[in-house]
């Protein structure tokens, strides 16, 4: 790349931004000048249309195309083979099982840990610092976290110097180093640990805010009734933050279903650690089996859908209560 190329690229970028600003400006200008009659509809259409068009191009069309691809073979004929493959081939089935393990463990454990932490540090001195400590992993990208933990789990045979923290500890206590990431099934759980490490901070921050939103009168009333701390937590705090709990659980569940970066950077799906999102990419782009990749994408979509529907329902109910 030469300096001229670079300047060209920067100019291109600036041009793009300028064009974007001009389009938005014109749009707002014309909507403002829309005829009085039915102005609301004009405004509605004017502001929604760009987003809807982009959604249609970037989301709706690819979704239908993926659905189509998952049902045709390479010659273009209709087939169920890709789904049969996904539910019968041992490696593909293992991928589905791993995904279920992930979804069963990550949301529950991170939410429980985050909630417990939020309750324990609530109103303590230095609460902000305690919060920041747990929240910090959230600021690290999944790829970054994956690389950090890959080093933690690094293996060298017993007679060589250990560079992985975990194995160094094992050796220091007289044990033999373990191939953490290569040993099935412990490797899947070690990858799950990384996700929990990241998501606990998220759960903690949201739940902590929710706990602070519980009216003090309720807590005091419970205290006057002679309840102990566990009873207050169980009967006042948890019902008070139910909405937030659902949001946290569902958000983490969806993130977990889609997990790709951690698996790809740490094991690339080898050693029986693959999950749907990773296998989807591997099949579609590395193995050139677009049909199989699409079928996995559809399966993933079907798994995420009920969680999203549930989440939307709960939010709607809450709004009605308010």
């Amino acid at each position: 790349m030469t300096t001229a190329d670079l300047i060209g690229k920067i100019l291109q970028l600036l041009m793009g931004l300028a064009i974007f600003a001009v389009i938005v400006g014109l749009l707002i200008f014309f909507i403002d000048k829309a005829p009085k009659k039915g102005r609301d509809y004009w405004q509605l259409a004017g502001f929604l249309a760009p987003a809807l068009i982009l959604l249609a191009i970037g989301l709706v069309y690819p979704a239908f195309r993926t659905l189509g691809l998952s049902f045709v073979d390479k010659a273009g004929n209709f087939t169920f083979d890709h789904f049969i493959w996904a539910f019968t081939q041992p490696t593909a089935v293992r991928t589905l099982i791993n995904t279920i393990i992930w979804v069963a463990l990550v949301p529950t454990i991170s939410t429980i840990l985050g909630l417990a932490y939020a309750v324990f540090i609530d109103k303590s001195r230095g609460e902000r610092i305690y919060k920041a400590l747990v929240f910090m992993p959230m600021a690290i990208s999944f790829v970054g976290a994956g690389i950090i933990w890959k080093f933690v789990y690094e293996y060298k045979s017993a007679d060589r110097e250990q560079i992985g923290l975990l194995n160094a500890l094992v050796v220091a206590f007289g044990g033999d180093p373990v191939q953490w990431l290569q040993t099935d099934p412990i490797n899947t759980f070690l990858l799950i640990l990384v996700m929990i490490w990241i998501q606990t901070g998220f759960a903690m921050v949201v739940l902590s805010a929710a706990i602070k939103g519980i009216p003090t009168e309720q807590i005091e009333a419970a205290q006057l009734d002679g309840t102990n701390a566990w009873q207050r937590f169980r009967n006042v705090t948890v019902p008070g933050i139910r909405g937030s709990l659902v949001v946290v659980l569902t958000t983490i569940s969806i993130a977990t279903l889609k997990v790709f970066d951690i698996v790809r950077t740490m094991t690339a799906g080898n050693f029986n650690t693959s999950v749907i999102a990773n296998e989807m990419y591997t099949q579609a782009f590395r193995a050139s089996e677009v049909g199989r990749g699409s079928a996995l994408a559809i399966i993933l979509f079907v798994l995420v859908l009920p969680i999203v529907v549930y989440n939307v329902n709960v939010l709607r109910k809450q709004r009605e209560i308010r």
């Binding site: 670079l6 490696t91 690339a268 591997t282």
Partner: protein, 450 residues
């Protein structure tokens, strides 16, 4: 007030200037010196003022710079502007780009299997007469076949690499009185002799990120080609015989006597299980410490012997390390080698594109590129003496020898679902203790039906 605004503006401009300077530091401005170019070798391609050709591939960094350098004179003499863009995701993207009509004019395809798929999709432009003439003149039939689909010839080979080298320390062999084995049996008995002294003769590393397992596939391919012959090899990679054919199982078992044997591996690294966690880049290095005797890896491993840079470890028959080709079954058998290479396919039908491709398939280009260092080509018009190292020179001579049977790396020829997925995973499971039969059955089951 006014002066403060100005100062702020000034600070902003200064910051932008600094940023621009910093970014300019990232660019590789090279002074253009057309100098005196001898245009005689390029006259046959004609002149195309104002035409340009875009080219894409997986080649990056230093290798990409050398590639661009190799057609500098061609650009000056013909007036065709050639723009190269490299990305490590090229193989994953090219089919998508071709389908969308956004492929570069020329794509450097490193896998014949991918070339076949692109040809099937109808996106490739057949090679012109000039390119085909060059290939008939400079390349063997084996090579031409890899650029052909359904009887139509699409692309000439570009560069090449040789797999199946066994790296060793000449001085250590001499001290111990070991001879270079000339047959697979001799290799076996040499390994057993070394193992009897308590040392582990082989060091192996299969770890390679998402491609973990591939060095093992090279072992298998080498043994299939030598033990079962080129015909069975061809049938194996095209699925005319199943993956779990008994002859393939035989080759697996022969390799297993090394890779699944605790007395044979893993020298200087640990036991059999350490193969899957040892990176292929560092796996041969225990040879330098005298903890390992032999390491099976392609010719490109030459650049890995000085992991910290410098040139303390030399690659030569009298240097720190040297390599012999994995021997045939019989000492009298002709050399059979596996290897790799690239094919520049065309996505746009235009005279300037074909002129450029004709140049890439010529002996002029091969000599230009190889003399810049680091790579070889199987082009018979190539002078081995322009190679940048002893090993590359020897590799060129092996490739140019008319008696040499050359076969492309099998996993690059198989469909991606096998060659870039289940074969790799199968090797990992197999080294991890699964039986040959069950691994072969699993790979066979993963072979796509259409």
């Amino acid at each position: 007030m006014r002066s403060r605004v100005n100062r702020r503006l000034l600070a902003g401009v200064a910051a932008a200037g600094v940023a621009a300077l910093a970014l300019a530091g990232c660019t590789g401005d090279i002074a253009d010196d057309d100098g005196d170019v001898d245009c005689a070798p390029y006259e046959q391609y004609g002149t195309f003022e104002g035409k340009s050709v875009t080219i894409g591939g997986t080649i990056l960094d230093l290798e990409a710079d050398r590639l661009v350098e190799s057609w500098k004179d061609f650009q000056t003499c013909t007036g065709i502007k050639v723009t190269y863009q490299g990305t490590s995701e090229f193989e994953a993207q090219i089919a998508v780009l071709a389908e969308g009509g956004n492929a570069p004019d020329v794509g450097i395809i490193p896998q014949p299997g991918l070339l076949q798929r692109l040809a099937e999709g109808g996106w490739l432009v057949p090679a012109s007469k000039a390119v085909e003439d060059n290939v008939d003149k400079f390349w063997s039939e084996d090579w031409k076949a890899y650029g052909t689909h359904d009887g139509v010839f699409y692309a000439a080979p570009l560069m090449a690499s040789i797999k199946g080298y066994v790296w060793y320390s000449p001085s250590a062999f001499e001290e111990a009185g070991y001879e270079i084995p000339t047959t697979l049996d001799e290799l076996k008995s040499l390994s057993e002799e070394i193992a009897a002294t308590g040392a582990k003769p082989w060091c192996v590393g299969l770890e390679s990120g998402e491609a973990t397992g591939w060095p093992g596939t090279d072992w298998i391919e080498d043994f299939v080609l030598r033990m079962a012959g080129a015909d069975v090899y061809d049938q194996w990679v095209t699925h005319e015989i199943p993956f779990n054919d008994p002859r393939i199982a035989e080759a697996f078992d022969a390799v297993g006597e090394y890779l699944k044997n605790d007395t044979m591996v893993n020298g200087g690294i640990g036991d059999v299980s350490t193969q899957i966690s040892e990176a292929f880049q560092t796996a041969g290095l225990p040879i330098l410490d005298g903890e390992c005797w032999m390491h099976h890896q392609a010719s490109f491993y030459e650049t890995f012997w000085n992991p910290d840079g410098g040139d303390a470890n030399t690659v030569a028959p009298d240097g720190t390390v040297w390599a012999f080709l994995l021997p045939p079954v019989d000492a009298d058998d002709p050399q059979a080698v596996t290897g790799g290479g690239e094919f520049p396919v065309a996505f746009r039908d235009a005279e300037e594109v074909e002129a450029f491709r004709a140049y890439l398939s010529s002996d002029t280009w091969a000599n230009n590129r190889v003399s810049l260092g680091g790579v070889i080509s199987a082009n018979k018009g190539l002078d081995p003496n322009v190679a940048s190292s002893e090993l590359l020179k020897q590799s060129i001579e092996i490739l140019q020898d008319p008696d040499t049977t050359f076969r492309f790396d099998g996993s690059d020829l198989m469909p991606g679902a096998v060659g870039a997925d289940s074969f790799w995973k199968g090797i990992v499971a197999w080294v991890g203790g699964q039986s040959t039969q069950s691994v072969l059955d699993t790979i066979e089951a993963s072979w796509p039906s259409s």
